[in-house]
Symmetry: C2
DNA sequence: TATCTGGATTGATGGCGGTCGATCTGGAGC
DNA sequence: GCTCCAGATCGACCGCCATCAATCCAGATA
């Protein structure tokens, strides 16, 4: 995969010729990138990132009624953010009676974390 | 910071009372979260994530003319994505003659990476 | 049954984001 | 000077997103 690039062509270049050979990019990486980008996109909002942070601090589950007073947004907006995180597979929820409890899916951030480091 | 939560209140709850005490969330974390969310947002697009991936594979710098044929998007759109990555502080560029060379800023992903793991 | 309540859903709105073609910019070469 | 080229920028379009108030739903309580 580690294609050596001819950098800094400087001069002597015919018309239409490119400065270097194109890098081939395997299709396998595309699906991989799409999944990681989906997770990153879900984390690309300060409130959602803080939500995940709170849920991770409490290794177990956290009731929605605890999360609402932490942010200056309406209850419906918070529910919307939690829904997005769940759609991205980052968190999941469980209802018990009137209350809903959210928790971080184990290994949900593993793939992106591994790529970043 | 690790506040013990009283989970599963079940029953015996007066009107207006919440199921548990609210978790205090330090303001310091908010600015921290905003910065990491900015980086995550920039990575929240498959093309941008692949761009960063290509730049990271080639530890040095990569010419834009190498990047264009890798994706099925116009040159202007690619330039737009590179601009977003640069605005987020993830990459930077250098012009030499007609060509522009992009590279990943060292430690740009460090903060988010540390938080994820 | 009726009433209350926590949370999800709906509808509306304003703004942001990805995409393109077209244009502009500045360096290279004639 | 002029022309050509790589890359950035502009203008426009369209769809998605964050937000809210209002509503709906289901479980609990009386």
């Amino acid at each position: 995969m580690a294609v050596d690039l001819e950098l800094m062509p400087k001069k002597k270049r015919a018309a239409g010729e490119r400065c270097c050979e194109p890098v081939v990019y395997p299709d396998v990486e595309r699906a991989h990138a799409a999944r990681m980008a989906e997770v990153a996109k879900a984390l690309g909002d300060p409130i959602r990132l803080q939500l995940v942070d709170v849920l991770r601090r409490h290794a177990g589950e956290v009731c929605v009624c605890e999360l609402v007073p932490l942010f200056d947004i309406s209850q419906s907006t918070l529910s919307h953010h939690l829904s997005k995180l769940r759609a991205a597979g980052i968190v999941d929820s469980e209802r018990r009676g009137l209350w809903a409890y959210y928790y971080v899916c184990p290994d949900a951030l593993k793939e992106l974390s591994a790529w970043l480091s």
